[in-house]
Amino acid sequence: MITVTGQCVAAFVFGTTVGVLVQRSRWCNTAALRDAMLFKSYRNTKALLVGMMILTLGFTGFISVGNGNPMRFDVGLNQFVGLFLFGIGMVLAGACTVSSWVKTGEGNIGALWALLFLIIGMFAFSLVWSATYWPPAPATMTGQPNLSGLQFGFADALTLQQKTGIPAIAFGLVQFAALFGLYRAILRKERAMQGARGQVPSATRHSPSRTEAAVPESAVGAAMTAGGGVSGSLQEEA
């Protein structure tokens, strides 16, 4: 059993490594969704999918043999609504939870401002929660449906394994295949786009610059004149 200090040290070492890797790769979760939708650019989306594929195999593999610490969250409509608001917010701010910290570490005042208001938003909702006690806090989740709280119980690879007797990794392989199919579809789309343009893919031609990594070239000019959240301000300095 790891001590509290050990947990904090492990978390800091992990976070520091993530900070270095994300800063050096310019990976951004916001760009993984926004750029795919707005600009048909999939550099960050492909990396997100690769990460999820590895994690699916890793988590379900260890769950199969009784190891690991899975999150225990009841399924609730609040997860859809909350992440819907989050999705709008991260595109407007031009940064997600990860890139806010990483860009702040790079000296981006806009990212620091986003973090400040993220904290204010959290505090504001803590007041709402204190008045309504909704959604149910994790400590009060039962794993059973609670329709008055818009909660539908708990279900994940571990519960599937327990109910069916089939190892969690089998379900993990199905999810891995689905994610891999999506990854292959993106590669096909990129090849089709390259064929239409008669160009070599940027990912193989050269390492992306800071500007390309933040937002594709088509958006840079517009962002520089109209602004575009944290990434917009980042482009201006490029």
């Binding site: 992440l83 709008i88 991260m90």
Partner: protein, 164 residues
């Protein structure tokens, strides 16, 4: 060092992060950021309002009692520290300040929405993509649906602002 001279392929970066996340999952729990940020919000509120005032707010008494001994805080602080070190070593650290009022407004609204969204859902984008969904939690699929729909709406707003 070569790492600090050229941009790293994000697929390589995310593959390494995913392997490390599996290790973290084994010893303490999967990578998440929203929980640590909530605790930081509680610690800031405790400093600003005082412990007695904060304890009158049920959320901070029942759900997140502010403490520095919460491992998730250190993931967030580590990410900022790691990025700072990497930026300095690669000579990419410099102050960047949004120049247009529209940027400040979008960042402010975006930050508020992210904070409200995390607390409403009890998960963030990281725990959605790198925790719940790889664990095949049904809530992860709901959260992915929500964040994709939100990013689509946000992209429409973003595009409108860019074209204005």
């Amino acid at each position: 060092m070569e790492l600090f001279k050229k941009t790293l392929d994000p697929i390589v970066a995310l593959a390494i992060i995913a392997l490390l996340d599996v290790f973290l999952f084994l010893i303490v729990g999967a990578w998440t950021v929203g929980g640590g940020e909530t605790m930081i919000a509680g610690l800031v509120a405790k400093y600003v309002l005082g412990a007695k005032t904060l304890a009158r707010i049920p959320f901070w008494r029942l759900v997140f009692t502010p403490t520095w001994a919460y491992w998730k805080i250190y993931i967030s602080l580590g990410m900022g520290f790691g990025a700072f070190v990497a930026a300095v070593l690669s000579k990419e650290f410099y102050w960047r300040v949004p120049r247009h009022l529209s940027e400040w407004v979008m960042i402010t609204i975006g930050g508020l929405l992210m904070g409200i969204g995390i607390r409403m859902s009890f998960v963030c984008n990281v725990s959605t993509f790198f925790g719940l969904t790889p664990e095949m939690n049904l809530g992860g699929y709901l959260a992915v649906s929500g964040i994709v729909a939100g990013a689509w709406v946000g992209s429409l707003i973003y595009k409108t602002v860019l074209e204005a």
